[in-house]
């Protein structure tokens, strides 16, 4: 195209034109050039490796990847383990824990975050100081959260021991040592860490609501409860979407919290699918089974997130 352009203006005295054209073409292409590396990295390291993992799950890879497709034995084993409930197989424990943890973690974080945000939004004094206090846990890594809560919840070191020393000797709280309750301690630590961040998201949402609407509602005689129930919470819907997505991915990728807090729990009773995946791929040298479990995790996320995103984002243009 540029040669055509130069040949057309050959006779004109403006020699600066071809240069300008090169520069403008460069300017047009610049965003693409700048984005290309990150685009390529995403294609290879996210989508490429997803495909690679799917491929590996159909091989009989053990310690090292093997590239000969041998069928779906890995999935058959996982499927068999899904119904091994007594005694629970590690996979059964992992997926039921994921259900319990994911549901409670997302629900409690959303509820607590919204509640704290509403309280902080009452134009109270010292908000600037209170907000970072709630937000601070998010700045910690899961390892730190896990270790701190591990000590706090340990009956021989933390809460129970302290209360016993203060004289309340009948107090008993050993969830972290109990195979049936250990997953709830993971919920407690996870909620403690993330709810402040969710609060900040809701707070930003609350600040974005037009004061005129609130005033109009108050003039119409709405009670405070009605105000929040009918106006504020529905207006916060996009925040709910963002918070849900943030929490859902935090829940599904939770691995370090379980390791640091419980080191797997008594008899492996605190495992999540991510722990199962790492354990089988890297410690047991059953890469095919590990890959298959990773694929199932991905499918679960897709099954939850895609319909939700679809329904939420489709309504916007309407």
């Amino acid at each position: 195209m540029s040669t055509v352009a130069t040949s057309q203006i050959k006779l004109t005295p403006e020699h600066a034109r071809p240069r300008a054209s090169v520069r403008s073409r460069l300017q047009d292409a610049l965003p693409k050039i700048v984005l290309a590396p990150s685009f390529a990295i995403t294609i290879v390291f996210v989508y490429g490796f997803i495909l690679w993992t799917i491929y590996l799950s159909f091989t009989n890879s053990k310690t090292f990847p093997s590239y000969v497709i041998t069928g779906s034995r890995a999935y058959q084993r996982l499927w068999g383990w899904t119904f091994d409930t007594d005694p629970p197989s590690s996979w059964y424990t992992s997926i039921t824990n994921m259900g319990i943890f994911g549901f409670l973690y997302i629900l409690i974080c959303l509820a607590l975050g919204l509640f704290l945000a509403i309280l902080l939004d009452q134009k109270i004094r010292g908000e600037g100081m209170l907000r970072p206090i709630y937000l601070y846990p998010m700045a910690l890594s899961f390892i730190v959260t896990g270790v701190a809560w591990k000590w706090f919840l340990d009956p021989g070191l933390g809460l129970e021991q302290t209360l016993h020393q203060w004289g309340w000797t009948s107090f008993h709280f050993d969830w972290i040592k109990n195979k049936d309750f250990v997953i709830y301690t993971v919920v407690i630590a996870g909620v403690w860490q993330a709810s402040g961040f969710i609060m900040a998201m809701f707070l930003a949402g609350l600040r974005g609501i037009d004061g005129e609407i609130m005033k109009a509602a108050q003039i119409d005689g709405a009670t405070t409860f009605q105000l929040y129930r009918r106006i504020v919470i529905p207006l916060l819907r996009p925040i709910f979407l963002s918070a849900f997505i943030v929490l859902a991915h935090l829940a599904i990728k939770s691995y370090d919290l379980v390791v640091a807090l419980t080191s797997g729990g008594p008899g492996g009773s605190a495992w999540l699918p991510s722990n199962f995946m790492y354990e089988y791929t890297f410690k047991r040298n059953e890469m095919a089974v590990g890959s298959a479990s990773a694929v199932i995790m991905l499918m679960t996320i897709v099954a939850i997130i895609v319909p939700y995103l679809y329904s939420e984002l489709r309504e916007k243009p309407r």
Binding site: K62, T63, F64, P65, R77, P87, P88, S90, D154, P155, G156, D174, I176, K177, K179, T262, S263, G264, G265, P266, G267, G268, S269, E279, F282, K283, R284, N285, E286
Partner: protein, 417 residues
């Protein structure tokens, strides 16, 4: 500007490559011996190599620990970037050898006479298809009791010779108000203890059949069921907070006198040493009751990779230094284990170390030296971890009876094979 950048990158890369090619006087080592005692023990080797003019370079591992190191090693090998050597355990060496990435030290082995001096059971893991691929550094044994002597004297206990004696001793401790058994409720610790229980309950032949040969009939047998019953008995003597405790904290309970005894491998001795305790006066080491004469072992090895020719001299120097008698003695005195060759003098070792060396020699001669299943020397990792699952679920109550435990064990091992 872009061109300058490109040239700069190219230059930097070529520098890196040329620096790499010249590095023949260097040993690149992947290991996870970073804690005080272990690092001190390794410094002996660094010193020996420095005398011969070889520099030591640690391959960094993010996060530390054996699992992280193995993940790092897998990535390095997949990228074709082999370290000179890596600390490795049991079946991992054979896996890598089968993948064809290990070097060949047979010449050095012949010259140094490793065939005769290294116990045959260890050679199963350091020799692959007739070629030496790894240099064993030490032999740990698992079937030990570690007892606080002050507590033992207080309750008037004596060395337990049978499993029933052991239960009687634990009862005495319970009556005296100390925690009888210090256990960390993590699956590998429970399974490590169960290794000893099985050897004690079924005897050497049974242990070998069940946990080294994975013989179905033995795994299903009543003896295995009885072993689980015995394990259940032992678990009644632990304190309520045992679940999830690290092994060294359990050792600390014995050191402090809060607990009477821990069943643990001889790496526990390092903790006693670090606390300035002497065997015989502060603590006692006995074989697990009913296992005298047999040794359940695991061993740290330096796996030697198939490095380029210009780095082979450094590798040979490393392997020779690792299995030299002086290093074997100096290292293992500090580490708490015993030498990986049976002809090292025991003069520098303490009482427990001397007993360990004598036991290893006897077990090697008598054919009662067995790989620990819990430590990955009895069967490949998939089987070993399935075994740990079952034992741990039994200890923590997901598996309720010993009948169920035996069924689950057979199923899990079959599934993992």
């Amino acid at each position: 500007m872009l061109r300058k950048l490109l040239i700069g990158t190219a230059l930097a890369t070529s520098f890196a490559f040329s620096a790499h090619a010249a590095d023949v006087k260097e040993v690149q080592m992947l290991h996870w011996w970073t804690s005080g005692g272990e690092a001190a023990a390794l410094n002996v080797l660094k010193g020996d190599l420095a005398k011969e003019g070889y520099a030591w370079k640690d391959v960094p591992v993010a996060g530390g620990g054996g699992d992280a190191a193995m993940t790092a090693l897998k990535a390095m090998v997949a990228a074709g970037n082999y370290p000179t050597a890596s600390q490795m355990l049991g079946y991992t060496v054979l896996d890598y050898a089968a993948a064809g990435v290990m070097g060949d030290l047979t010449e050095t082995a012949k010259k140094e006479g490793w065939d005769k001096s290294v116990p045959a059971a260890l050679q199963k893991f350091s020799v692959y298809e007739g070629k030496w691929v790894a240099a064993p550094v030490n032999v740990h044994s698992v079937n030990w009791l570690w007892i606080n002597k002050a507590v033992m004297d207080k309750i008037g206990g004596t060395e337990p010779k049978t499993f029933d004696d052991f239960i009687a001793l634990l009862d005495k401790a319970k009556a005296a108000g100390v925690i009888p058994l210090a256990l960390g409720g993590q699956n590998w610790q429970e399974a490590t203890m169960f290794d000893s229980v099985v050897l004690s309950t079924g005897g050497p032949e049974f242990y070998k059949k069940a946990f080294n040969d994975l013989d179905d009939a033995s795994l299903k047998s009543d003896t295995m069921k009885k072993s689980f019953d015995n394990l259940a008995k032992l678990v009644t003597y632990v304190d309520p907070n045992f679940s999830g405790r690290d092994w060294n904290l359990a050792t600390a309970m014995v050191i402090k006198g809060d607990a009477l005894v821990q069943v643990m491998g001889d790496w526990a001795k390092g903790e006693f040493h670090a606390a300035k305790k002497t065997p015989g006066t502060d603590f006692l080491c006995y074989r697990f009751p009913g296992t005298d004469g047999s040794v359940i072992y695991n061993s740290d090895m330096f796996g030697m990779f198939n490095v380029p020719d210009d780095r082979k001299a450094a590798q040979v120097a490393l392997a020779t230094a690792t299995l030299s008698k002086s290093f074997q003695s100096a290292f293992n005195v500090v580490k708490g284990s015993v030498p990986a060759r049976t002809d090292v003098p025991d003069t520098d070792f303490d009482a427990c170390g001397k007993k360990g060396i004598a036991d290893l020699k006897a077990a090697n001669d008598g054919g009662t030296l067995f790989g620990s299943l819990a430590q990955g020397y009895g069967a490949p990792p998939a089987v070993a971890n399935a075994y740990k699952d079952v034992v741990s679920k039994f200890v923590h109550g997901q598996i309720k009876t010993s009948d169920e435990a035996v069924t689950e064990l057979v199923k899990a091992i079959d599934d993992a094979k």
